[in-house]
Symmetry: C2
Subunit: 174 residues, 2 copies
């Protein structure tokens, strides 16, 4: 189950990467420097696009690492440009690509903690459900919302990506 | 599994309801009519708060209904005020409260379609993973982002709600 759920997170990160393509193209068409988007925010006391992307990546990375005990690559958070943020996304995807279904065998019952919890713990199942998933979608969506607020022409198809749909049945011969 | 995942969606809808309490109180403190938030948007060609809340509710409602075959209550989408939106959330939660784990027994293999798919189908498992979950979090987060953009003092704790944490172990006696 967790392997499949992380597969969906990988898909969302790949979609996020395509938003930067649209943003860069749209900035060129409108005659502004796309890099101003990196420091854009929805509110003065909310994190800018830069941090939204980094935290989305780290929520997936640290979620997979904590659930499996598999060491995560360290990132020094020095990204400043769209190109560097896209590289961060690619690096996160490369790490997530190393996992197999077997890695998550004990994920549900793992005991999870992190420094700011001061010794409190969650089961892997609760952590993934109540913390990783909503946090991941929070930062993915705030990235999207900041771009959209700045007029980048992304829409629901760019957000969801391709769906695993089966074609409509052929009409019966008459 | 789906029963638990819908439990998390119910939690997010309960959290969303608390944001309206903060929004109403904050509007009073700042001396503006909280109802202006209902038509607020992040971009002129994006849906306002009103629609974000309604679609978040309907994504959960229709997701549960399609996965189980259990008829969903119909809503006439006539909400215009914060009080009516909160009633919509409560009505959606009341419907979701009627489900048991057993209702979702065949959910993963159910064949799902909707009018705009023109006969194409998805399995219940794919539909929930690729469509229901990301759409639900999209509209929950855009609701949050619109409020936050307008200065409503909501934060991560209001978003995530209480976590199922176990207390830190007691220090060893010395």
């Amino acid at each position: 189950m967790y392997f499949v759920l992380f597969g969906q997170m990988k898909k969302m990160l790949r979609q996020l990467d395509t938003w930067f393509e649209k943003a860069t193209l749209n900035a060129k068409e409108r005659g502004y420097d796309a890099e101003v988007l990196v420091s854009s925010r929805l509110a003065p006391d909310q994190l800018p696009l830069l941090a939204q992307v980094i935290i989305a990546c780290d929520t997936a990375k640290l979620g997979a690492s904590r659930l499996t005990g598999k060491a995560a690559p360290s990132h020094d958070d020095k990204e400043k440009t769209i190109a560097e943020l896209r590289e961060r996304v690619r690096s996160t995807l490369a790490y997530l690509d190393t996992f197999t279904e077997k890695d998550f065998e004990s994920a549900a019952t793992a005991s999870i903690t992190q420094p700011r919890w001061e010794g409190r713990t969650m089961t892997g199942a609760d952590y993934f459900l109540e913390h990783t998933t909503p946090n991941f979608y929070f930062h993915i969506n705030h990235t999207y919302a900041i771009l959209r607020h700045n007029g980048v022409p992304v829409g629901k198809k760019d957000y969801l990506g391709a769906l695993s749909q089966k074609p409509a049945p052929a009409p019966a011969a008459s």
